[in-house]
Symmetry: C2
Subunit: 206 residues, 2 copies
Amino acid sequence: MTEVTDRISRRQVDKFAERRAQLATSALRTLSELGYARTSLREIAQNSDFSHGVLHYYFRDKVELITYCVKLYKAECVTRYDQIVATARSADQLRVDFSQALATTCDEDGSMHRLWYDLRNQALFERSFREDVLEIDKTLELMIWRIVSTYADLSAATITVSRSTAYALFDGLFQQALLRHLSGEPKALDDLREGVEQTLPKLLLP
Amino acid sequence: MTEVTDRISRRQVDKFAERRAQLATSALRTLSELGYARTSLREIAQNSDFSHGVLHYYFRDKVELITYCVKLYKAECVTRYDQIVATARSADQLRVDFSQALATTCDEDGSMHRLWYDLRNQALFERSFREDVLEIDKTLELMIWRIVSTYADLSAATITVSRSTAYALFDGLFQQALLRHLSGEPKALDDLREGVEQTLPKLLLP
DNA sequence: GAGTTTCTTGGACAACTGTCAAGAAAATCT
DNA sequence: AGATTTTCTTGACAGTTGTCCAAGAAACTC
């Protein structure tokens, strides 16, 4: 709230924010590779085009950097699944598209998501992360809820679980698949698809 | 001669193993308090009755210590829920007991479980943790499966999801409840109970 | 009780951490 | 152009980390 925001309020807000985002992107890359526990500011700087000192020019401390990274990650994650909702024509198609999208995400963006789980876990220990983590979690919960609601509409049925329960169920499926997939289990993605496709109809009134 | 030396060596082995367990228990206490990222060997030793140097007498390095702790934790966690299965008289009773047990665990042993999730997450980054984590995960999966199977038997119905899916669903519910409960959300435990009681019947054939 | 093995301590080490400040470099302004 | 502000580098700091080791304490054997 002191020097950093002062610099922001001066003039080249865009450039400042742009560099922040650039540094945060490098940080995200490094974080997703090494995890929270083993990522240092020097390691982050080394994987960027700048020296380690510059991080404290754009971020007050390590916590602010990590928090900013988490929020940047959120922006990437939010609008990803809404296209599935938009293009769904039938309940079955939505069901298959959704399970396929989760499997693809697990496969292609696995290391970004293990970072998300890592940071969410840090929130279990460090209070300073909780607010942002809960906010992102809520965003993901709403995203899942849009899927489930649309599925219920297309099925002309009513939902029998709460928003948070629906999110927790699919999150559990995804997290387990991620661990198994990263561990090299070949069936991990197939099991994820099958689990999702089996679970989704069960959330509706029979 | 062989009997004597056997007895001696066995006694030494027992004592050695006993101290290992003792140190690991201290380590678990510290780990569950601080989390993997912020727990150092000196911190562990300080919360025990020994100096920091002794840890390298009983454990080769930090990884072996953590791995041993994880396995010790597993031993505590395995047989906890089997009593519910043993004493269940009706499907409804099992359902309520199970959801209540999860809520109680979340409330009373929350910090031990956040450590479990922390270590499981480390396995997403560090290969050396994976084998043990997957082994513990399998044990928990079987525990959940015993609950679900018994519930199906008492309901005289068949299960419609796989073992791993059933585990993933309840694990997701528990993990979300843990985050919310530690964040001070009053409804977290109630929502957990409700979510579990709603989910369990859905796993059976309608 | 002497001798041997087992256990424990506390200190030393090198590497690493987040943080900061002084100044070089670059960009901007007058 | 020079002056001034913004950006970035470099090196230093104090603290912490995992690891190792010599030396002493304790337990045990004979």
